[in-house]
Amino acid sequence: MASPTVAFLNRLFRRKLVLAAACVLLAFVLAALFAPWVAPYDPGALRVIRRLKPPSELNWLGTDEFGRDVLSRIIYGARASLGIGAAVVAISIAAGSAIGLTAGYFRRLDPPIMRMVDAVMALPDILLAIFLVAILGSSIFNVVFALAIVYTPRVVRVVRASALVVREQQFVEAARAIGASTPRILFRHILMNVTSPVLVQATFIFAYAVLAEAGLSFLGAGVPPEVPTWGEMIASAQQYADQAFWVVLFPGLAIVLAALSLQVVGDGLRDQLDPRLRKAL
């Protein structure tokens, strides 16, 4: 007997593209977790004598301007880039759900909360993020915090919209009638029923966060340069692009592949969780 979860995954992965994207993601996650065992070289080891060497048997993806192995740096970069993405997702989902539930359930708090959300969303993602990092100072923690502030309003909107609908349903009324407390109604009944759209949002935010972190690092307003992230690799290597295209090409491909896989999995999840959308998009 297949459990509901197994049945769900079966349906989700029936589409080959979603399965492929999930495999790519898994590969990235495993590479990030087991970087010291997977990476052929120490990502920080300088071998100036082998600087800017093209891809070869020794260095599959070539070497950078300090002779460091590009593949090893991409593998270690997955740690920072995906780690930051995951942390941004966790914080913005937690904060966004709490705020969105509050706005959706308590009618009086809805207008002020939503105007704040509008205000934050009136600033372009990357602009708000560099502003926040500039104020807070550049560190991994601050980049995560800044991006979480940028993406929390998206979660608030999704959770609030769902909460507004769920609030009016009979089982909520029933729960209230039998004397369930407000927190219980909020977390047991309403939150449980908005998990699908939140899960879909989570994969999208993950993809946006990976792209935004790369953008921040590129602009020099991201994590400190000693942390190897994909964006930082491109930024520091860009001046060597005409002598050695691989220093720019491969880290970029890693970003595209990771963000694309997240997006494909997110689309697959949405199609499965929300049958109404299956037709349109």
Binding site: A122, P124, I126, F218, A221, D242, V248, V256, Q263, A280
Partner: protein, 313 residues
């Protein structure tokens, strides 16, 4: 209609007030005294005190906030620390490349997105649809700065078709300046075409199944006429909306793209202001960009009302 317009203007003002407030107080959280930053390392404490008095930095924060807000309402965004001129002047000097970049990008994004979305909807489920959907998905997940670097390498350095970077010499003609925008606009247009493609496709699929389309087909209207005259016109409202939203997104995208291509636009100004901690410029640019964003949204809503009489009621 007038009532709803007034209500929208009201909430627009509230949002702008919140943006300004947020920007002001967040900037106050920044480490370092603006007066000390302005004067550099050589300044004596007495100098710093004098400058703090000049800029009103010695007053309580709330008083500073009210004074600052009063200036902002009058269109005065303060004085740049590094550029020795008012922030509004600095913004005005940089507006041309950003304006044309955004304009060209939205044209390119629309020229890619709308036909691709229509084709994808008309041949739904066929190879065209799958290729278009895959490319749209890919485009949405390419970091624009990376695509920019690749384009520079290929089209400018290798093939020599376009200038590598910059905005021409100071005396360059408009045509010369605009030639510098081809590659950046292509990058920004491609990356931002994805959303337009997806919305056009969804919106066309919605109307292609409608009764009047079947009627037109049964009357013997040629397929091209059905798609373009009957279906597309009715699918236009969401498409116009998404094009408007894309313009707002482009403003953010322009920041990164300008940096890659060394264009002296607003984005470039903001990035260098962030790196130099020139807070008045950062504040001013944020407020200007947010104002642009809410105005674009308002314009989109108005066009929406004009295009679709049903919304007017």
């Amino acid at each position: 209609m007038w009532f709803s317009l007034a209500r929208r203007l009201g909430s627009l003002l509230i949002v702008m007030f919140l943006v300004a407030t947020m920007v002001f107080f967040l900037t106050r959280l920044a480490p370092g005294d603006p007066a000390a930053i302005m004067l550099g390392d050589q300044a004596t404490p007495a100098d710093v005190e004098r400058l703090r008095a000049v800029y009103g930095l010695d007053k309580p924060v709330l008083v500073q906030y009210v004074l600052w807000l009063k200036e902002v309402v009058q269109g005065n965004l303060g004085q740049s620390i590094f550029l020795q001129r008012p922030v509004t002047t600095a913004l005005a000097e940089r507006v041309e490349p950003t304006f044309f970049l955004t304009l060209f990008s939205i044209v390119i994004a629309t020229l890619i997105g709308v036909p691709a979305g229509i084709a994808s909807a008309v041949w739904r489920g066929r190879a065209v649809d799958q290729v278009v959907s895959a490319l749209a998905m890919l485009a949405a997940n390419i970091p624009s700065f990376w695509l920019g670097l690749i384009f520079i390498q290929f089209f400018a350095v290798r093939l020599g078709l376009f200038p590598v970077a910059g905005y021409g010499d100071p005396g360059a003609s408009l045509a010369e300046r605009l030639a510098h925008l081809v590659l950046p606009a292509a990058v920004l247009g491609i990356v931002n075409s994805a959303l337009i493609t997806r919305f056009t496709r969804a919106s066309m699929l919605d109307v292609l199944g409608d009764d009047y389309v079947r009627t037109a087909r049964s009357k013997g209207v040629p397929e091209t006429g059905i798609v373009l005259r009957h279906a597309f016109r009715n699918a236009l409202v969401p498409i116009v909306t998404v094009i408007g939203l894309t313009i707002a997104l482009l403003v953010g995208g322009a920041i990164v793209t300008e940096t890659v291509f060394g264009l002296p636009g607003i984005g470039n100004l903001v990035v260098s202001a962030v790196l130099r901690r020139d807070y008045p410029v950062i504040q001013g640019a944020l407020i200007a960009v947010a104002a642009l964003y809410v105005l674009i949204n308002l314009a989109v809503d108005l066009i929406y009302t004009l295009v679709d009489p049903r919304v007017r009621a």
